[in-house]
């Protein structure tokens, strides 16, 4: 079936860092939107974050990081300092040619730059803006910063995460960036829909704190009626048993098993060959299994410890028992189901058109979890730093070669990192996994 580049013709100017906005615009870029990532010549943190191909930052390390490639695939890079008057002027000229401006600066920065929604709408009345930060543009905490993990704390998710009887634990690493980014992609599509329907722009003011509270809606309703959710580790908090992770053969290998009906319990007994401990009438009902869940967990852990997690998963699933191997990334890369579905993405060597992608072509990335027969959603290379300077300045804005040369001299436009950055390249082996 023929697939369409659904968002072709939509131009997005992105003043974005790290993940919560970049990952959202990447999703739209995969669907054909022209996302121009405006990069500050001296703030290259996102391009320093690794991981590096074969763990070694190459000669052009700023174009080769895996996380940068993942969050900025399919985009263009324009290296422009919007903090300078001339840089700002050029940015505003681009706004006239664009549909959407996104940022995830702290509240107040876009106002200081004179690039807030009102200023932009004055020159482009149907502009859509999205700003997303920790707490949003209003309210007493609006000027405060965040990391995804401080939002885990704020929104309540961490306080209910933890082992049974133990303290609250930080719930995740970047989950709040991830869920916030998905929300932002949804909002941008909503705004495009709105504009096509009404001809009007929209000012979107998103906050990671609020997508966080959306993620624990039930717990927030419960507490208003005096119900407090206990921490239970991987066990079910209310009624399902057995429902937990169990050790299998090998180091740090586990299987998740979840039983939610008497039928599933009967099938689990079959799968295990009706061991004596399981043939106990007390365990044949939901309340009975819940009451004896600790005992069940002990016996089941003993049973699972004699096999490997993948073999046991298939055996249990053949008996119609919900079970899943606790996979690591290396196992996901070999999983036959994902392979058959063509889930993982990579840049094919023939499409590696720039310096960065030539180094990481063929390496796997997680991809979108939906298949749309009529909409193309293919990942393309992330841009080299300033790769699209010429295209944008000459092609879109009609600047002359001399004018571009002058901008370079004045440091407003660059296509290589600053001397400071070049003098301190990232270390081999650095990158996300090491940094966490």
């Amino acid at each position: 079936m023929k697939q369409t580049r659904l968002l072709e013709g939509i131009r997005i100017l992105a003043l974005e860092q790290v993940m919560v906005v970049p990952y959202a615009t990447a999703i739209l870029a995969d669907m054909g939107a022209e996302v121009i990532r405006i990069e500050h010549p001296e703030h290259l943190d996102d391009r320093r974050s690794g991981p590096w191909p074969d763990n070694i930052p190459g000669e052009q390390w700023w174009n080769e990081g895996g996380t940068f490639a993942y969050w900025n695939r399919s985009k263009k890079s324009l290296c422009l300092d919007v903090y300078t008057p001339r840089g700002r002027e050029l940015f505003l000229k681009l706004v006239l040619l664009s549909d959407i401006v996104v940022d995830n600066f702290r509240t107040g920065t876009m106002e200081r730059l004179g690039l807030d929604h009102e200023s932009l709408a004055n020159i482009k009345p149907d502009i859509i803006t999205l700003t997303c930060n920790a707490f949003g543009s209003t309210g007493p905490y609006r000027a405060y910063g965040s990391r995804a993990r401080t939002i885990d704390s704020f929104c309540g998710l961490s306080s209910i995460s933890g082992y049974e009887g133990g303290p609250a634990l930080r719930a995740s690493s970047n989950y709040m960036d991830h869920t916030g980014a998905l929300n932002n992609a949804f909002l941008l599509l909503l705004a495009i829909y709105h504009k096509r329907k009404t001809g009007q722009g929209l000012r979107l003011d998103a906050s990671m704190y609020e997508t966080g509270i959306q993620s624990i809606g039930p717990a927030l309703l419960e507490v208003q009626k005096g119900i407090v959710q206990e921490r239970t580790g991987s066990a079910h908090p209310y009624w399902k048993a057995p429902y937990n992770v169990y050790p299998t053969q090998g180091t740090d290998q586990w299987i998740a098993i979840s039983v939610s009906s008497d039928e599933e319990w009967a099938r689990l007994k079959d799968a295990m060959g009706q061991p004596e401990w399981a043939c106990d009438a007390r365990l044949d009902t939901v309340p009975g299994r819940w009451e004896h869940r600790k005992e069940l967990d002990r016996h089941l852990a003993e049973w699972t410890s004699h096999g490997d997690h993948v073999t046991q998963m298939h055996r249990l699933q053949q008996h119609r028992v919900p079970a899943g191997a606790v996979y690591s990334a290396s196992e996901l890369l070999q999983d036959p189901h994902l392979e058959q579905r063509g889930y993982l993405a990579s840049i094919p060597p023939e499409e590696a058109t720039n310096s960065g992608s030539r180094r990481y072509a063929g390496r796997a990335f997680a991809d979108r979890p939906f298949h749309m027969p009529k909409v193309e959603t293919r990942m393309r290379p992330a841009p080299d730093l300033g790769e699209h300077n010429q295209e944008v300045f000459r092609g879109l804005l009609g600047l002359s070669a001399q004018e571009i040369a002058r901008l370079k001299q004045e440091g407003i436009v660059l296509d290589r990192p600053s001397a400071n950055d070049l003098a301190s390249p990232p270390q081999p082996g650095s990158g996300m996994g090491a940094a966490l």
Partner: protein, 404 residues
């Protein structure tokens, strides 16, 4: 009230949470959302504890209430001929169906995408299943825990020396539901441009694979799996570990110091010159000496109340978190001033504050409508008579026959 999607009609044929959350995101933006439930028990989520008034009650499950705002509910038995015919009537008037049945189930009822597409070529069918419509695991059984495991998220959560620890509150449904809403919005744009629908295949497992921060490319680039405990902030005193204050816990980061040395900034703020010791300067050093560092920092933090510490540190542009309980979140003055919650009045439970849209549009909470989650079959009369044109008599007959 923007009502961005007030020209969209959506039918939700889903059970449990993922499809319900996806449909809720669209319903809160004004889509006319009709939740079709089996007569009798209704959506399985109605029976998930806890129940807000105490004893089990199909209209009072917190999960059902949270994920079904601004929808209407009808009952319909899809396993009857008449039920299938009535659904086709609804399909004629709909833009989107969201379903979470096992692959092949709708086909077995004569309601597969090809059939529905003939009834309404504009129809978008968003099918959300644990493993997708294709592939060797498509008929495998699942649960939130199994998804977290197979999606590669679980292995990273929790303590390195304990078993993996799941995230609470069905996060697989949240992450897959958000993806399904993105795909559905994209399909709506396509439909409005071309007049054509399509069948979207959403896999919850794949949504989970996408969730942890880059574990796939960490492996494909650098060749290592991300270690458990790394994500949990254990031993990361300055980066996510929960640290005691006078009245709770806070988390610190090394962010926000504007390029200045983070430990110097913290040493000044906490009046703890010991933090300037070179052994704490690098992350590796801080991990090596984490117990000593923790003792130093917590010694100071115990002088503060969490929220006072938070404000003082944030005013200095240091970035910190307060570990808030759900009760504190509900009472948060920031969320109140922003209007983040929507107060909905439920006939059984009174007024409760529900998380809103997660954003403001043109400065206002854009949630359209003020319906709490519907009671089972609450809207049978208006939908069957007004939308499908049944007479009162026919409705009564079909109800008696167990079709509705």
């Amino acid at each position: 009230m923007l009502g961005i999607l007030d020209d969209v009609r959506l039918i939700e044929l889903s059970h449990h949470l993922t499809g319900a959350f996806c449909a809720k995101l669209l319903a809160d933006q004004g889509a006319d959302t009709i939740k079709v439930e089996p007569p009798g028990r209704g959506d399985a989520a109605r029976h998930e504890p806890p129940f807000l008034a105490g004893p089990p009650h199909p209209n009072q499950s917190s999960q059902f209430l949270a994920f079904n705002t601004n929808k209407r509910s009808i009952t319909l038995n899809l396993e009857t001929r008449t039920g299938q015919r009535l659904l086709q009537g609804l399909v004629r008037a709909a833009d989107v169906i969201i379903d979470s049945f096992a692959p092949g189930y709708l086909e077995s009822l004569g309601l597969g995408y090809e059939t529905l597409h003939q009834v309404n070529p504009r129809l978008i069918l968003t099918s959300i299943t644990p493993f997708g419509q294709t592939g060797p695991y498509r008929h495998y059984l699942s649960s939130d825990l199994v998804e977290q495991a197979l999606g590669g998220a679980l292995i990273g959560f929790g303590d390195a020396d304990k078993e993996p620890m799941a995230l609470p509150q069905n996060q697989t449904a949240i992450t897959a539901g958000r993806n399904a809403a993105i795909a559905t919005m994209a399909a709506l744009l396509y439909q409005r441009a071309t007049g054509e629908g399509q069948h979207i295949d959403v896999s919850i497992m794949e949504a989970v694979v996408q969730t942890p921060p880059g574990h796939i490319h960490q492996y494909s680039f650098a060749g290592n799996n991300v270690a458990r405990g790394a994500a949990g902030g254990q031993r990361s005193v300055m980066d996510g570990m929960h640290l005691e204050t006078q009245d709770g816990y806070v988390t610190l980061t090394t962010a926000g110091t504007g390029g200045a040395d983070a430990m110097d900034a913290w040493a000044d703020f906490l009046e703890l010159p010991e933090l300037k010791d070179p052994k704490f300067k690098s992350r590796q050093g801080r991990t090596r000496h984490w117990e000593e560092l923790r003792e130093l920092v917590v010694g100071r933090l115990r002088r503060w109340k969490s929220h006072e510490f938070f404000k003082a540190a944030m005013e200095r542009r240091l970035v910190v978190g307060v570990v808030q309980s759900p009760a504190e979140v509900v009472d948060c003055p920031h969320l109140a001033e922003r209007g983040s919650f929507m107060a909905l009045d439920h006939p059984d439970l009174g007024i409760l504050n529900y998380p809103g849209a997660g954003f403001l549009a043109d400065g206002e909470n854009p949630v359209t409508g003020s319906r709490p989650a519907p009671r089972l079959g609450e809207h049978n009369r208006e939908i069957y008579t007004e939308l499908l044109g049944l007479s009162q008599h026919e409705l009564a007959q079909l109800t008696a026959a167990g079709v509705i």
